[in-house]
């Protein structure tokens, strides 16, 4: 009897299409976020994260329609991130059917935005996304900093202090991505994840670096993650959500099976 750890597939979308598409079984349209979301939900995903990387203003309207369509067919929690900069952006996404929004860069440039958002909409729907990168040298005590612009721009802000501050301001959950590991398939930055998870009271979603199912297990058992987010291992059909859940459950992790 315990709360289950969550598996969250992440869809990166540009102008309403899943970037790079997915390659698992017999899907009709490999770029359709609605169909892909439904398939993941049927396969046992505990939540869906939809990351909008659309740059154009017109594209944003497409995103809203996509979120509406997903919410009309998928009855598990849906988080929408990317380009959330104003209270109106949040309201638009919640009205479209998102359960949570993920705030990243806007929080770094204006931390009070997180406070206002949590006060207005409640902490339960405010996820703060943190992109962190190790800045300490080999042999030094480990230290991580917040980076923006896809990990290119350092901010000088300590990642652990930042996480604590965001929680104080009302973040209900932290989506933590290691920019060192993102795309490497070498596993989560477990030390980073554990340091932040142990420092704050709210759930942590580990992200960045998943290449196999043992990485998911390590994220929970060693990284103290409450949820694990992955994209490519699921998109490219290397593993199904069901296989991931079974694997984790066999190693003693409480899962919703």
């Amino acid at each position: 009897m315990a709360l289950a750890k969550r598996i969250i597939p992440c869809l990166d979308c540009d102008n309403g299409r899943v970037v790079k598409g997915v390659k698992f079984l017999d899907i009709r349209d490999a770029g359709d976020p609605v169909e892909i979301s439904r398939r993941y939900s049927d396969a046992g995903a505990d939540e869906i994260t939809f990351l909008d990387i659309t740059a154009s203003h017109e594209g944003r309207a497409t995103t809203v329609h996509t979120v509406e369509a997903i919410a009309g067919q998928v009855f598990i929690p849906l988080t929408v991130g990317g380009g959330i900069r104003t209270l109106d952006d949040i309201r638009t996404m919640l009205n479209a059917g998102a359960d949570k929004v993920s705030i990243n860069t806007a929080a770094v440039f204006n931390p009070d935005f997180v406070r206002e958002a949590a006060q207005r909409f409640g902490s339960q729907c405010i996820v703060v996304a943190i992109d962190a990168k190790k800045v300490s040298a080999e042999g030094e005590a480990p230290r991580w900093e917040i980076f923006t612009h896809g990990g290119r721009k350092p901010t000088g802000i300590d990642a652990i202090e930042w996480a604590k501050r965001m929680v104080r301001y009302g973040a209900g959950e932290i989506l933590l991505t290691s920019m060192d590991r993102d795309g490497t398939k070498s596993g989560f930055d477990l030390a980073l994840n554990r340091a932040i998870s142990d420092a704050v009271s709210v759930p942590i979603i580990a992200s960045g670096g998943v290449g196999n199912l043992q990485h998911l297990v390590d994220g929970v058992l060693e990284g103290h993650a409450d949820a694990v987010l992955a994209a490519s291992i699921f998109h490219f059909g290397e593993y199904t959500i069901g296989e991931a859940k079974q694997y984790m459950a066999q190693r003693g992790i409480t899962m919703r099976l």
Binding site: L3, D46, G72, P77, G172
Partner: protein, 223 residues
């Protein structure tokens, strides 16, 4: 035609509840509304809620939803969800203490079962004294503690999706329909006459949640 009113008092995402009801109820006509007439003329009513209880209660009172809910439960089924369930209770500890509707006897408490020895801050610990995260967010087991038409077709100990930092603790004499454990025992569902209330989100709980909503659309109240 099955008329369902979802009470809208400006707090949070009602789209999800409406979409889930549309999905399971092909003959349901769903209105999202704060209009007293529409609510009182519906066959059944949903009382949702998210966010902070003080703001919720302020809007509930400002829009006269308190009187409408009291009226509804005299004559038709009401499903309260999350903060909607908490609002039915007598009082919540949230926001330094807020009086609620008092339609069900009991309190809404902050998740805590210990205190930090240094700071005195409330803590929530598991059976191994390891800290648990608050909010209680994710899929947890609901043990059905009474037979009820809203549990029809739902296996005992099914997992539902929760997201909350405060929980309902019923007074003696009130009836829990489902219990969940997260550091402490929490009332996951309660029933009282025409009221069925759930702390979890059926509209986000996939098969089990959709079945509960389907059951609600067929329930005529008073178990």
């Amino acid at each position: 035609m099955n008329k369902v009113a979802i009470i809208d008092y400006g707090m949070g995402n009602l789209h999800s509840v409406a979409k889930a009801l549309e999905h399971v109820g092909s003959n349901a006509r769903i209105s999202v509304t704060s209009d007293a007439q529409t609510i009182l003329q519906a066959d059944r009513v949903i009382f949702p809620g998210v966010g902070a209880i003080r703001d919720c209660m302020a809007e509930i009172r400002r829009l006269g939803i308190d009187d409408i809910v009291a009226e509804v439960i005299r004559s038709k089924p009401l499903l309260a969800i999350c903060v909607g369930m908490q609002a039915l209770m007598e009082r919540s500890e949230e926001n330094d203490g807020v009086d609620c509707l008092g339609l069900v006897k009991g309190q809404v408490k902050r998740f805590a079962n210990a205190r930090d020895p240094e700071t005195g801050d409330p803590l929530l610990l598991d059976e191994n004294a390891a800290p648990l995260k608050v909010p209680h967010m994710g899929w947890n087991i609901v043990q059905q503690t009474e037979a009820h038409p809203l549990w029809a077709g739902i296996a005992d100990n099914t997992r539902f999706y929760f997201v909350h930092s405060y929980y309902v603790s019923l007074a003696a004499g009130e009836k829990a329909a489902g219990m969940t454990h997260y550091g402490v025992d929490i009332t996951a569902a309660l029933s009282k006459g025409n009221i069925f209330a759930v702390q979890f989100h059926p509209e986000k709980s996939q098969h089990g949640g959709l079945q509960l909503l389907r059951n609600f659309l067929a329930w005529n109240g008073e178990s």
